[in-house]
Amino acid sequence: MIIVQRGRWRRGLAGLPVLLLLLLMQSGSGVRADDSSFTDTDDIGPLTGEQIYQHICQGCHMPGGQGAVGAGYYPKLAGDKKLISWEYAAITVLNGRNGMPPFALPAAAAKETRAVRLSDAQVADVVNYVRSHFDNKYRATVTARQVQALPHPGAGMAPAE
């Protein structure tokens, strides 16, 4: 469980990012109905594709990739034919889709929207995990290098770290 291993991924209270966040929250475009000035989302540390799925993705896509339907829906990933395209899956994780957040924003934009940043290797890992679990049986694995070659959000806006 990520939350148990807090020491590994929740670094010390870094003052600068929090200050930045406070500044953003006070600027016109950053007005928000929350005020948790302690939270930072800088670095989720070294996680496998399975861990990423279980700690982040399954909040919406549900355990087992079952998806869910309410007023809108979260796509069911189990048996999802679209996953035949690893590019589709990876681009979705990188850039988001509809209400789904992007997971590869440049650092400043990620900070502003409290988005979580995954490395290209982590995106590859989680795509590989989803494409080889939940009744999905795609053999070919994707590499960080292949993910790197795909369009990333905000390219040209700010240098990626």
């Binding site: 209270l13 003052g15 948790s36 000035s37 919406c60 309410g70 007023a71 829906y73 209400g99 992007p102």
Partner: protein, 536 residues
């Protein structure tokens, strides 16, 4: 002036209709603004929708604050109004969970709220700043009583497991010590002539005196244990009466320890415009506003209705909907105009024939992840043991907040805390857990601040907004970049459809954003309707 004279000569409505016919609605909007007809955001009082064309109709999607404030105004202006709502209740994110309520999240987990009668948690909004005059207007109008919400409580805590051995620090101590030390340093720099270039000799005297007052410094401009400092941070032994009355000053924490602790980050929490005193909450829970709106609008709202298609044509808008419980029983609703207040996370997945710019805007806004956990305890130990009456403790544990009830003080019996209010990555992780796991985590973390948790815990409930069936997320998270490219397009009327909600505002996540965006949108829809009415 000129406008006033013209307006005197002919009725304002005639004038507007004339402008609308000859120059189009944009010119009419300008004229209306000049005449004081169109109320611009932020909220400046009820919108004037006079002159609605007879028989004109508006279909409103969503019975939250945006949809219901619009329905209220449009109905009163003479429009035929119909509201479709996914839930079985009115309010949307304006919502309170009370003892006896049940809530089923996406994925199927059902939680039964086992709080005592009259105890509650607001899973969504929980405070109303005094300048959110739109929300306050409707609360008053609907007869919903309000009471104070304490954003700042000097006796609540700032906490980090990495600071002061994990011992929570009283807000007043951290604030007084930080302020005192900073004042002392600045006084020292001034007296050592480090500021001679920046501050005149006369002003230096004034600055020093202001620092002495601001920082509770002694006559030597030192911040140290003293009556003055204790008057800010609290005493080691409080003054009282009689023989045992003599107060004992407390010892300030050193500057280095304060800085190293990071707790100074919690000091400005009540200083931002949104959090400045006074703030309010409805008596009995935030959901009282939505409930009152629902009663007011009565049969205008059709509940349990899930919109599955929205189509506009030259003469109107048709929404197709099904029963949200069975996903069957397909029906349609049609009106001349449509105000769509569905969250973008939902709307992006519904077929809708609008222009490319609006379509792109609808898909451009990811939704924030947020969690709230309500914990009921067998007694109000935070009051009884720690003299914390309302307000918020801040921590850098993943729970980030512990919110104390701002009502029911000194009452015997049980009490409910907001045990966690989480954003970002930690919220996603909490969302990925089962509801009982979320409650357990909130207990684990919170007990580091209040050890009484273990003994006094009764029951809890956890709402993860990305598991909310009616929103699929908490609120629209605009980046500066996305706002620059898409915000105006999102707010423009597309044919016969206008969007409203917190997502169509600069008050993201606030109810005031929903209300002001709705007033703005219906003002503009009204202009179109009036202009068309004149043509007919």
């Amino acid at each position: 002036m000129e406008n006033d004279e013209v307006a005197a000569a002919m009725s304002r409505r005639d004038l507007l209709r004339l402008i609308g016919v000859t120059a189009g609605s944009a010119a009419m909007y300008q004229a209306m603004s000049a005449l004081g007809f169109a109320a611009p955001s932020p909220y400046q009082g009820p919108v004037d929708l006079s002159g609605a064309p007879p028989g004109a109709s508006v279909l409103i999607l969503g019975a939250g604050m945006a949809g219901m404030s619009a329905a209220y105004e449009l109905r009163n202006a003479g429009y035929k109004v119909q509201v479709l709502e996914y839930n079985a209740r009115a309010g949307g994110r304006n919502w309170t969970l009370r003892g006896g309520d049940s809530y089923t999240e996406l994925g199927g987990a059902t939680q039964h709220c086992e709080f005592d009668r009259d105890l509650y948690i607001n899973p969504g909004p929980w405070r109303i700043p005094y300048h959110h005059q739109g929300v306050l207007h409707y609360a008053k109008l609907l007869g919903v009583p309000l009471e104070p919400f304490f954003q700042v409580n000097y006796n609540a805590y700032l906490h980090s497991p990495k600071a002061f051995g994990g011992k929570p620090q009283r807000f007043r101590e951290v604030k007084a010590d930080y302020q005192g030390h900073v004042a002392e340093l600045l006084a020292k720099a001034t007296r050592q002539h480090a500021l001679d270039d920046a501050v005149s000799q006369e002003d230096q005297e004034r600055l020093l005196e202001s620092l002495r007052q601001w920082g509770a410094l002694d006559r030597n401009f030192t911040y140290a244990a003293s009556d003055a400092a204790s008057d800010r941070r609290g005493y080691a032994k409080n003054p009282g009466g009689g023989l045992s009355a003599r107060p004992i000053p407390s010892e300030p924490v050193g500057l280095g320890d304060i800085l190293k602790s990071g707790l100074w980050q919690g000091i400005p929490n009540g200083d931002t415009f949104d959090m400045q005193t006074a703030l309010f909450q409805p008596v009995g829970g935030m959901g009282r506003i939505g409930e009152a709106f629902g009663r007011e609008l009565g049969p205008l709202i059709r509940y349990n209705s899930k919109v599955v298609d929205i189509a506009q044509d030259a003469s109107g808008v048709t929404a197709t909907y099904v029963d949200s419980r069975t996903l069957s029983d397909k029906q349609t609703a049609r009106a001349d105009w449509c105000l769509c207040t569905l969250p973008l996370s939902v709307l992006a997945e519904i077929p809708l024939n609008v222009g490319a710019e609006l379509a792109a805007a609808i898909s451009a806004v990811p939704y924030a992840s947020a969690i709230k956990v309500g914990l009921q305890f067998k007694r109000r130990f935070w009051e009884e043991d720690e003299q914390i009456y309302g307000g918020i403790t801040y921590t850098d544990l993943p729970i980030t907040n512990i919110g104390y009830p701002n009502t029911g003080f000194f009452s015997g019996g049980k009490g409910v805390l907001l045990g966690a209010y989480i954003w970002g990555l930690n919220a996603m992780e909490f969302t990925a857990m089962t509801p009982p796991e979320r409650v357990q985590r909130a207990l684990d973390y919170g007990s580091q601040i209040h050890p009484q948790y273990r003994r006094e815990f009764d029951n809890g409930i956890a709402v993860a907004w990305h598991r909310s069936p009616f929103t699929l997320g908490c609120f629209g998270m605009w980046s500066t970049d996305a706002r620059a490219r898409h915000y105006d397009n999102l707010c423009q009327i597309d044919g016969r459809i206008a969007l409203a909600g917190e997502h169509a505002s600069f008050l993201g996540g606030w109810q005031e954003g929903a209300v002001t965006s709705s007033m703005d949108a219906i003002s503009r829809l009204h202009l179109r309707a009036v202009a068309q009415g004149a043509k007919a």
